[in-house]
Each structure stands twice: as C-alpha cells, then as structure tokens.
Amino acid sequence: MIPILSLSVFLPLIGALILLAMPRASATQAHAVGIAASAATLILALVMWSRGVVAGEFVQVEEIAWIEAIGAAYRVGVDGLSLPLIGLTALLFLLSFIHQARSQDRARSFVILMLMLETASIGTFAALDALLFYVFFEVSLVSMYFMIAGWGEEGRQRAALMFFLYTLLGSLPLLLAILGMFLASDPWSFDMRIWIDDAPLGGAAAMAALVAMLFTFAVKIPVFPVHTWLPAAHVQAPTVGSVILAGVMLKFGTYGLVRFALQMLPDAFAAAGNVVLIFGVASALYGALVALAQSDLKRLIAYTSVNHMGYVVIGVAVAALATDPAMRAVALDGAILQMVSHGLVTGALFFLVGMLKERTHTREMARMGGLLKPVPVLGWSFVLFAFASLGLPGLAHFPAEFQIFLATLNVAPVAVISILAIVVTAGLYLRAIGLVFLGEPDARWQALPDLDRRDLVVLVPLVLLTLAIGIAPGWVLSVIHVTTSAAGF
C-alpha cells in the first residue's frame, strides 16, 4: 500500500532537498526540479481524486507515532472538504512553476522556497493532527515571507515584515485554542478526528476558543477589518507569490473556519453565527466597494478577494445557523465550491496581471488602454476571468455563489443584501476592462507581444476548469456533497 497522501505532501519537500544538495544548479535545472516535483504531486492528487471520498469519515488516512507523551502523531487524511483544495493547490503550484520558469533571478532559492510552501500548503489541508496542522500552517508563513522579501517589488521589506507580523499575531491565538482543546480532551490527544466527533470544550471555554480561532482565521481569510495586510502583501509579492497567496493560502483561513471552528465547536459557532455573518456581509460589501476605488489593477484584484472570501464566510455562518440539515449542506457546498472557484479565477487573474506587467511595466490602469488590439488573446482571457469573477452564469463562481445565496435566503434573509456587492463587482470589472483594454491603444503598446506558448500552457487549464465548474459543477459538488451531507459534519 503506497502512502499516496503522504507522498503528495512530501514530494515537493524532497524536490527542495534535492535542489539543496545541488549548490551549483543552473536556473534551468532548478525549474526542471520544481516542475517535475509539482507535476508528480498533481498526478498523485488526481489519483486520490479518482479514489473518491466516503461519507462521514476520512479516507487515505496515514498515521505514524510522533510525540506519544502528549498524544501528538503524524496523522493525515482527506475528505470532501480537503480533497478539492488539495487538487487546487497541486494545480496552482504546477502552473506557477511553469510561469516562473523563465526567471533567472536566484532561481534555485526561489524554487526551494516554493517547494517548501507547497509541502506546507498540502500538509495544512491534509493534517488530521492539530499540532501537525499548526506546524504546516506556520511553515507556510516563513516561505511566503522570504518570497515577498526576496523577490517582491519596491516596498517589499516593509510589506513582508507586515505580512509576517500580522499573520503570526493572527495565528498564535489558534495555538492557544488548540492547547485548550488538547488539555480538555481525555485522554490527551491532538487527534482532530476525536475533537470533531466529540467536542472537548463546552460552554464558556468553547466560546473563548471560538473567539481565538475566529481571530486567527479572520486574519488569514482575510475578513474586514483585519484585512489590511492583504493589499500590501499582494502588491509587493512577485506574480506567483500573489497567485499562491490568493489561490491557496487564503483558503487556509476558510478551511480552518470549517474544519476547526464549525466542526469542533458547533454549538458555540451556532451561538455566534450571527456575528460571524455580519463580518462576512461587511467583508463582501467592503471588499467590493474598496476594489471599485482602486487605480492599481493588482490591488483591485486583491480587494475582490476580500469580497469573494466574504461570501465563503457568509456560507459557513449560514451553515452554522441552519437548523435544516439539507440547507446546511447547500450552504457548505456553496462555500467549499467558492473556495475552489476563487482559487482558479483569482489565480488566473493574478497570472494575467503579471503577464500584463511584464509587457507594459505598469499596473496603473489609467496608463494602459486599448490593449485588446495589440494583445487580443491576453485581453479576451482577462475579460473571461473578470466575468467569471463577477459571478456570470456559466462560469465557476456562479454555482457557488448561487448556493450560498440560496441558503442565506432560507436561513438569514437579511444577509442577502450582500448580493449588492455583485453589482458593485460587475461595475468595477467593466470599468477595469474599459480602462485597460478598450479604446484606441497608445502608440507605445502597438508592438506588444501577445501570449506565448508558455503563457497559454498556464492559462488553458484554468480556462477549461472555470468553464467546467460553471457549466456542469456536478463533478466537484458530488465529492464535496458526500462529506457535507453526512450526519455529524
């Protein structure tokens, strides 16, 4: 029996170790190792996908004893919540390596950091041991810090420091909550499955743990008003850094919100559900409105993440408040699918902004204009993903947001005002498309090269998946639904 899940967690790390052992590796060799390791990881993720999940339990479970004295062990496994996210992670990392492959700037170090980040990301979604989860969760911070600080743009040192301080301050309350649940479990254990089946905390202690967790995940998601690190980090990060940050790392927050807050503290979450809902609605509206005010294209997309993740928070809060299990499953299906859709669409948008910046050397929308003529393929791709991002039917966000709003209308009808954010998002994307791509092109832009083959290799899988989820979401939703509809989720 091959431990496929552990292999997919540690293959990238093995790639990083191989590169570490090759101090004289050329940029080409480094990129080759990165692409090979992440491609192999994606294949393993696809194998896991083909095996599917089972209702009410984790599959592909692998366990090794670790620190017996305190009941911590290496435990990993997947269910319908984590499996789609692992697939998304493996795909985005492979595409990022392909996109990055032309870079010559300290390629070996960059690839090592990226591979460490991939192990940390997949590990975060796969961990079934709270201590292990926390380890992976934090390791991702270190890699991202060095990536922003080393390869970012003008103000990178400040942005990197802010990112690290903010998210470390954010994640330490989670450690407190984990330790609290650990000390309350009998016998002592960090096994998340035990905590999910039989919540160790109750009453005021559960509420305190929930507040600590919500703080951690709110910073990570990010939820208004603790989102301020996000635009700074995104604007300064290199393109693939932004892709991974938005596509994968923001999902740590929403994943934790479901896995820890909702599953381990269901009663406390139900009691606080309305508060969480308010923060979700505020994020959705605020993210859209602030995005409307941006003139920097990358910042604009960064703020739409706040908006989209706000919908996820609404979905999870509605699931916590729902009394009807069917409605609860609808809300969770929507929230989890929204995570996947956001990873695909926003990942693609950050790739496109990076490709635009490579060509025009600016991110200011006012300085571009008329780009649809010189770079039609790039332009139409952007238009497609912009429409996907604003929730057009037939594209990836629609089935997710539809389910979230359906459940919201049933459980907490007032919160449906967040649907106004979609109108704002539509407006801001149309404005952006008009500013950047329509009109007469400036003479400077006449000779811009359109997307080359490598760019297409990066974008085509994302286009196909965005369409596939938009038109027939059943193939993803069926996996998610197996888990969310099970009793006791």
């Binding site: 305190i70 926390y134 390791v139 040192q157 690290f164 470390l168 450690l175 407190l176 609290g180 000390l183």
Partner: protein, 452 residues
C-alpha cells in the same frame, strides 16, 4: 556510600577532567587541555545516560538523581563541549587559552550541582561555584571592557548571593531543615516562606538573568569573549532554571510563589524583547533575547506547582534553547558582532546565513523547528496550571520576538555593500553551527526522545 558514588560517576569524571585540564594548562599545552575536556565531557555524558531511568536521591536527600537532574547533564555537558569548541575557534593561540577551557568545565560541575540540588546548602554552593568561574571567564580578555564587565558581574553577584543566603536562612528557620523536601509544611509560616522565596528568586534570578536581576548580563556578555557569552547564556542559565524547579516543586503553592514567578516571567519576556529591539550590537541583542527566553522558561516553572507537562516542557525547551542559542552565537562569532558586519552574509556565505535564519526563527518559536515544540509545551504547561493570562502575554511577546529576530534576518539578506569575501571559519566553529543546526532542524520532529 558506594551506591551514592555510583550515581555520581558523571560528576566524578568531570572533577578528574577539570584537575587534569588545570595540570595541562600549567604545562601550557592548550590543545591537550581541550582534548581532555572534550573526552571528559563525552565520557560524563555517556555515564549520565543510564541514569535516565533513576529517580532517587543521594547523600541523605541532598542531591537528586531524577529526570531534571539527569537531563541537565545530557543537555549542559554537550553544550559545554560546544562552548569549548567555540572558545577554541575564538581564542586559539592567545595567552592562557587553556584556562578558559578548564574554567568552563569547572563551571559546568557547579551547574550540574545547581540543577540537581535537593538541599538549600547545595543551591548556595552551586551559585558560588558557577559564579567564581564565570567571573574569571568574563574577565579573561583582561582589557578594559572585560574588566569592567567582570567587576559589574562580581559586585552584582556578591550582593545577590548575600541576599540569597540571608533569605534562605529563613527557610531553615521555618522548616527546621536545609532539605528542600522539608519545605512542604512551610506555608504555616508565611512570612518565613516569603523571605526565603525572595532570597531564592534574587539569587537564582540573577544567575538566570531574569528581570529585575538581569543588569549584568548585556555588559558581561559584551565584554566577555563571544564563546563565554554563549556558555553563560546557556549553561549557567539553564542550571539556575532547573534549580528553581527543584526548589519550587517542594514549596507549597499557598505561599503564592506561582504568582511571583508569573509576574517575573511576564516582565522578563516583555522587557527583554523591548530592549533587544533597539540593539545594534548582536551580542547585546542576544543577551537581551536570552533575558526574554528566561522569561519563557518560567512558564514551565509556574506549572511545577501542580500541573502536568512542567518537567517535559522545561527539558525540551532547555535542549532547544541550548542548541539554537549556541548556534546563533557561533554565527555571530564567524560573521562579526555588529549588525553591519553580518549585512549581506546571505550572498557571501549562504549556508551560514540560512543557518542563522533557522536559529533565529527557532528562537522566535516558528514550527517545525525545535524551539517551537519547547514553547508549545511551555504554553501547554502554564495553561494547565491555570495561568491563561501568562500564556497570552507570552504569545504577544512572540510577535515582539519576531520583530527582534527578523531585523537580523533582514540584515543578513540585505544587498552586500561591496564584494567582501566570505568570512573565514575554522573546523571547530563550523562543527558547532552544523551540529546545532541539525539539532534545531530535526529534534523538533523527534521530540518524543526527550519526553519518554
């Protein structure tokens, strides 16, 4: 008697080693002195290993052979050996370098005595024995800064020692015995218990560089050779913390000592990191950081009064702290004492810069490095003892810590000024940073070996 002595084999080996080292120094053979020291320390560590299963006392309860005492040997003796190697790298060829080696081994005997104390007299003896050697070590360079630092250290130490002895006599009055195990009933005489507690905290707090008894530490570390600073910040500090654990585990919690310790912990962490934030001299920065790290140790001490995980957390964090702190000092020894000196080390010597980043992130408590597991256990121990507020303070300080240590990381990866050559590093110091790096990297995953 022979039973008791069989438990003391590591200490006996060390005493013979120290005597032989002094003899070697008399005939001016520093390499021989170093060799004897390393072999003696290795032998003593090996002899301590079988004692791990023991949990007993010798000499009528005055000296404890339990997990804390034995682990102190297994942690502090290798740490002393690494300090010897650092000293060799720093001082090779200087006049009387062998005396540094022999003094370090002598101080390590005192440190073991402190960590295994079962009796008030032994505590005092341990403080004096480690103190005498430490003063001489700090003064060793015999230049103005070192002399000044050693004077401060000595004066401060004499006063703290006097207060300690005076305070501990109250315990004797209350308990009728100098044995620490006799303290269990002392809460019936709260004034005597409090007076003794003050003496204990002053004396050992000074040794562990806890706020407000820390004033000597930045000056002494800065004046002393870097290797001595590394040695003092690890060996005598951990010994003092373990000695506190030995004493406080017998003291009834009704005396309120947990609160005194918790307050000192909170102040030490916060003040240590705040002061470290503004340092540009790396040795001073690490001195202040070690003040803050002492505060973290106290989270485990609070739990000694009745909470699980106390012993495990102290042992794991002591091992982690020894590795990462000595490692950081080793890189400072290679790269230079100033923030500017190590600027751009990332380009000139990438492996050493990466190692320094690992040590600093581990000191911050970032997983999966060794320091994280130590801190997580400390947090768990304090939480279990009911000191949630202290854990919250510690957590907030972890963010401050990140600010302190990332300043160095940022400097490491700053663009190099000019094409400076990579700093030279001999085999001795390379051994130290590689060994401590491996421990910091992999022992976190293997923490189970220390908690069995």
């Amino acid at each position: 008697m022979s039973r008791d002595l069989s438990f003391l084999l590591p200490e006996l080996v060390l005493m013979v080693t120290a005597a032989l080292m002094l003899a070697g120094e008399m005939i001016r053979r520093p390499r021989l002195v170093l060799g004897i020291g390393l072999v003696g320390l290795a032998l003593a560590t090996g002899l301590a290993w079988p004692l791990l299963k023991a949990d007993t006392t010798v000499f009528g309860g005055t000296y404890r052979i339990g997990p804390l005492a034995v682990w102190s040997k297994l942690i502090l003796l290798p740490a002393t050996a690494l300090s010897l190697l650092l000293a060799r790298a720093e001082l090779a060829g200087k006049f009387r370098e062998g005396s540094v080696y022999s003094l370090m081994v002598l101080v390590s005997i005192g440190a073991l005595m402190l960590a295994g104390s079962g009796d008030v007299m032994l505590l005092v003896l341990g403080v004096v024995l480690t103190g005498l050697g430490s003063f001489a070590l700090v003064a060793w360079p015999a230049d103005d800064p070192a002399t000044e630092a050693a004077m401060k250290f000595l004066v401060f130490g004499s006063v703290a020692g006097a207060v300690m002895v005076y305070g501990l006599t109250f315990w004797f009055a209350g308990a009728g015995s100098t044995l620490l195990s006799a303290l269990t009933g002392i809460d019936r005489a709260p004034v005597l218990a409090a007076a003794g507690l003050v003496g204990l905290l002053v004396g050992l707090g000074y040794k562990a560089a806890l706020v407000p008894f820390h004033f000597w530490a930045p000056d002494a570390y800065e004046g002393a050779p870097v290797s001595v600073a590394a040695f003092l910040s690890v060996v005598t500090k951990v010994a003092a913390i373990f000695a506190l654990a030995q004493a406080l585990s017998a003291l009834p919690v009704q005396t309120g000592w947990q609160w005194a310790v918790a307050v000192i912990a909170a102040i030490s962490m916060t003040y240590g990191y705040l002061a470290a934030l503004v340092q540009s001299n790396l040795v001073r920065l690490l001195a202040w950081s070690s003040v803050a790290q002492s505060g973290y140790f106290l989270l485990g001490l609070v739990a000694v009064g009745g909470g699980a995980l106390a012993r495990e957390s102290l042992i794991v964090f002591a091992a982690a702290y020894a590795a990462m702190n000595i490692g950081a000092f080793a890189i400072v020894l290679i790269g230079g004492r100033d923030m500017e000196a190590i600027g751009g080390l990332g380009r000139r010597a990438p492996a050493r810069a990466a190692a320094m980043s690992v040590f600093l992130l581990s000191l911050t408590g970032i997983p999966p490095l060794f320091g994280f597991f130590g801190k997580a256990l400390l947090f768990g121990a304090a939480l279990d003892a009911g000191f949630l507020w202290l854990v919250v303070v510690a957590i907030l300080n972890s963010v401050l810590a990140l600010g302190v240590y990332l300043r160095i990381v940022v400097a490491l990866y700053a663009p190099a000024e000019a094409a400076q050559p990579a700093p030279q590093a001999g085999a001795a110091v390379s051994t130290v940073w590689i060994v401590t790096l491996v421990i910091t990297l992999v022992m976190g995953v293997l923490t189970r070996l220390l908690t069995g």
